[in-house]
Symmetry: C2
Subunit: 379 residues, 2 copies
DNA sequence: CTGTTAGCGCCTTCAT
DNA sequence: ATGAAGGCGCTAACAG
């Protein structure tokens, strides 16, 4: 029946009148119900219910000088990585009574304006490191609101929370070397994002360490080869695979900046008739769900993405509460996940499930990987 | 240097003073720059820049009586479906100058309170149909803010936008019958969500139509079999597959409520040594990315998820602007995607890409599906 | 073109 | 235990 064009203007005054009390009392039953007499409280509550009163958030925010909301800027939402991150973030924010206002940078024509706009409606912002936000812009934001960066570099007033990238990648790379591989290639553009940069650094570290130990492996070169810059898109992965198949690129092992790249490359390599890992070993980073389903299982690094998200939200909340920005980045520990794409043999603990005796199959069983904790700086 | 505990209280008064004008003028350069003299405008702007002034959103919202934000309640974020939806929603909202505050229902202990809280900070809300929000609660919300439901049923004041479910599933089911399959099973719980319910209805429709035409296929029964209720989780899919393998469930074709179920079932079926589609055909719904990568390619129904998201946001915006709620649901057209899991032969247009001549491989090439538009009620 | 002045709806001392 | 009143920061007439 009711078809008011504008949402009903049920204000605190309306309920106050309906309950025969002052707005102060209504406000009290909303915030500190215990300080108001039982019967008045009841009257007020029934008035609230009758009118379906919903206090205006903006008015409250203005009065308490808190938006009670956390901003989050992500590049996009494709793939499970960002979704996981967002899930963890939302959960932690909600636990702290904060709502989250999300913004997807990809495709925004005027990112800067959009971010400023966001900043106006929240108490703090978390931004993904790989988003190309001009430094000065961030610096400006910092003056009005706490800023956190995920998988990026800390800066003055900007706190960073990352997953361990460098030593994990180094370990992964050395693992490949231990398999006797000598023509390694790093797939990814270190310039594209801080985490890719760090992973490449780990790749380089592995070479340095290897040289130090003494060239016990084939020494095509002591220095790490330059990274093969590429976008994180399927077609790029396929392109690289093509170049390897044709011999244009010479490699017997590929260290990919992330699983998506690894998966795309493997897919294409197999399609072109090359064997993985026999002809070329491939490792990734992230441990996406798909990593365990491909043939061969992808050796990679698992990072605690959801925890990363919740930690970011929690730290942001702390900072909104007055905690100073940590200048050193917080880095979460990762875990090496050794499957078969690196050349390791399959555990082969497969066991045809009997419907009666083993109703629930653990998908991990099939290729239970060997995992190696890789420390970080826990908060 | 600056380490103010609380975000700097740079208000419109501060910039006004710094620029030597009144707050009204500052407000004007922010909203209608053209009505203020060029030089004063310049002075104000430099003051804004100097102070890194960010107008308080809450104050603005209170004054204009608009939060300029759209709420969105999703159950969770696993899988590509919700991410896509959210992506479309965010894009459309942003285009309309609205920010989106997201809430994930899964795991919330007090969903009702959370939703009310959300409602206080936005101008309108979109909720996924499968979220178990008590009818009365929604009805109450409707009194204070526009409500839209995605993939759900419309109600008084609640407008719905869906993808076509029923006739798409019917077509899919008949397609299976045309392949000569007679022991079909519907996997999914119609009670769990409106869209699953509609899909099952389509499944039933197919049986009804088949009976009408005259039993030209094997007539195990004229009536559609009861649905196999199950949760949309991998383990459940595996369980069903086990039961089929052991003969506990007799079927030669499976109509799954969605792709995730189909994928899980196929995976397990193959693992148990059954052939798909030879022994049992399987079809899904959604056309997830993975649908085209599995062996055999999954025959399914593609629904325009992203468009669904943006349409919901757009309609919500319209309603906030005063448009009345449509009582009939808007349904978006879907498309049958015929691959091989239903029993159809592979197009086999594979063509080993030559690195030089065909640098970019279209992943669709490999199993280009036959698609059939399935109409809906376009907005 | 610019300044003055009411509110917007709620919270919060300060009285009573 | 409750009411009165000032203010949060900004917008929008209304004057000038």
């Amino acid at each position: 029946m009711a078809m008011s064009k504008h949402p009903s203007p049920v204000t605190i005054y309306a309920v106050a009148e309906a309950a025969g009390v002052s707005i102060a009392t209504v406000s009290r039953v909303l915030s500190r119900p215990d300080v108001v007499a039982a019967h008045t409280r009841a009257r007020v509550r029934s008035a609230i219910a009758d009118l379906d009163y919903v206090p205006a958030g903006s008015a409250r925010s203005l009065a308490v000088r808190q938006n009670e909301a956390h901003g989050l800027v992500l590049p996009e939402l494709s793939g499970p990585y960002y979704s996981e991150l967002l899930t963890g973030y939302e959960a932690a924010a909600a636990d702290a009574g904060q709502s989250v206002v999300l913004m997807l940078a990809f495709g925004k024509t005027d990112l800067v304006r959009a971010v400023r706009n966001l900043a106006a409606k929240v108490d703090g912002i978390a931004v993904l490191g790989s988003i190309g936000l001009p430094g000065p812009v961030l610096a400006g934001l910092v003056r009005s609101t706490p800023v956190m960066v995920i998988a990026g570099d800390p800066a003055d007033g900007i706190e960073a929370v990352n997953a361990e990238n460098r030593s994990s990648t180094m370990a992964l790379t050395r693992h490949l070397m231990d398999h006797g591989r000598s023509k390694l290639l790093f797939l990814g553009d270190p310039q594209s994002a801080p985490d890719v940069r760090d992973r490449y650094a780990g790749f380089v570290d592995a070479y340095a360490a290897d040289a130090r130990v003494g060239g016990r492996r084939s020494r095509a070169s002591d220095r790490a080869p330059a990274p093969i810059a590429m976008a994180f898109v399927e077609s790029e992965g396929a392109r690289i695979a093509d170049e390897i198949a044709t011999g244009r690129l010479d490699a017997d092992a590929l260290v990919c900046a992330n699983d998506e790249v690894a998966l795309a490359v493997i897919h294409r390599l197999k399609q072109l008739g090359l064997r993985v890992p026999a002809d070329v070993a491939v490792v990734g980073f992230d441990d996406l769900m798909a990593a365990r389903y491909v043939e061969p299982g992808l050796t990679t690094v698992r990072q605690p993405v959801r925890e990363l998200g919740s930690l970011i939200a929690t730290r942001l909340h702390d900072r909104i509460g007055g905690a100073p920005a940590r200048s050193a980045p917080t880095v979460l520990p990762t875990e090496l996940v050794i499957r078969q794409s690196c050349g390791c043999p399959a555990p082969d603990i497969r066991q045809p499930a009997d419907a009666a005796s083993a109703p629930l199959a653990d998908p991990n069983r099939r290729t239970r990987p060997i995992t190696v904790q890789h420390e970080g700086v826990t908060p």
